[in-house]
Structures are given as C-alpha cells and as structure tokens.
Subunit: 103 residues, 2 copies
DNA sequence: GTAATACATAGACATTTGTCAATATGTTTT
DNA sequence: AAAACATATTGACAAATGTCTATGTATTAC
C-alpha cells in the first residue's frame, strides 16, 4: 500500500457521515436505501459517499436487482491498521540519534 | 473518543506530507528544522501541518530553546487503532438480519 | 405499459484545505 | 547590540470537498 493509498483511505474516513456509514456496515451488509434512512443527507449525497468509500477500497458493493448491497472490506482495513500500527510503534532499534538539534 | 475526534485524526492523516512527517517521527523525536529539510514545503506550511497534527492529538511538542521537538503520541494512535479495529471486525453477534431488502 | 423504487450522474455553490510570500516573535551567537 | 536562526501568524489564492437540485437509468410491481 502506497502512501497515496493510505492518504486516500484517511480522506475517505475524515467525514463523520462516512464514519457513520462504516459503523453501520460493522453489523453486516447493508443496502443503500437502509443507509439513507439513518443519515440526514439526500440520495445523491449518499451515492457520492459510497463512491468515495468504494474507490479507496474500504467498502465493496454487490448489485442484486435494484438494490446495491455494501460490505466492509476487512482486508483493506487490515492493511490500513498494519500501516498505522507500524508508524505508531515505538521501535527503539529504528531510533535515529542524528537530529540536528540534539545535544 | 467521539466520532468527530476520529474524523479529525483521519483528516490530519489524509495529506501525504503529514503522513511523511508521521513516518519520520516513527524513528523518534524530531525538531521542525529537520522535518523541513526532508519535505518540499516552506516553513510556514510545515508550521501549519504541525499545528494540524498537534490539534488532533497525534503529535505532541516540546520547546527547547529555539527548537521545537515533535513526538508521536502513542496513546492517541492506540485509541485510534482501537476504533478502527472495532468497526472493521466482523462481529457475528452484532449482525443484524433486518435489512429492508434482505430476502 | 405505467408507476414506483433504487441508484447514478451532472452541474452549481459555499466551505474547507494546502500552499505561498510577507512579516512578526523569540532565542542563540557573535 | 546586531546578526542569524527557528518557528508562528497573517492574508491571499487556487484546488478540493460536501451538499443540494434536477435529471437519467435500471429494475420491480401493478
């Protein structure tokens, strides 16, 4: 996963409505109309949000007749968590002592 | 951690320059001037980025003479990872069967 | 076949964001 | 005291973003 891909995932999750959508999908597959019921946005706005979430890989969709079912892509979240865990871990072996202003 | 706080953290990480800064801080405390050397941005832009990272809680700063040393706040990352892990975990017990369009 | 439902697309608009140049503030060095 | 260095603040601007209305496209129901 490149830094750009990580940034795109973060950008997708930087909106509270999209976070709510992700939270709703935690309990399992949902169709657009059900997500729409819970959010205070219009249908085109929801459609836009689902495209953002799909494009970055966090969510996958499955068409079934006139319904679109959305699901969390656990592999994507797993890779993302892996990155966050890596950058946030204190790794003493990686520690550099060469800061220009260290005494 | 509220949904707004999570969204702010995501927004802070949604920029590739700020991700690079976080990556640089992984190896330990860094001062602004050293971060500036590695990035292709002006000093005011770096100052802005550090403010964004500090305001959301991901980074803390320590003033030492004319230098400002920045550090990753592991507690904040830990809370964030906890949220991501929670929403991305498949929890069969939480699964709802009541989708309007489920057959 | 007509109406209703679920979703996407296009265009508009106000707000936010990343960036810079200019300038200010505080600290160290000479 | 003056110069150099590290950082913050202000104001400007182009680009990106979230939202809406209007409209289009499938699919199902009557």
């Amino acid at each position: 996963m490149t830094r750009e891909e990580i940034a795109n995932i973060c950008k997708a999750m930087s909106d509270t409505n999209r976070l709510r959508i992700i939270e709703m999908l935690t309990s399992g597959e949902k169709c657009g109309c059900e997500l729409l019921d819970e959010l205070q946005v219009t249908q085109p706005t929801l459609s836009h949000h689902m495209k953002v979430l799909s494009d970055c890989g966090l969510v996958s969709s499955r068409k079934d007749g006139k319904w679109h079912h959305y699901t969390i892509r656990h592999e994507c979240f797993a890779e993302y968590i892996e990155y966050i865990a890596a950058v946030s871990s204190h790794n003493e072996q990686n520690r550099e002592m060469s800061c220009c202003c260290s005494k």
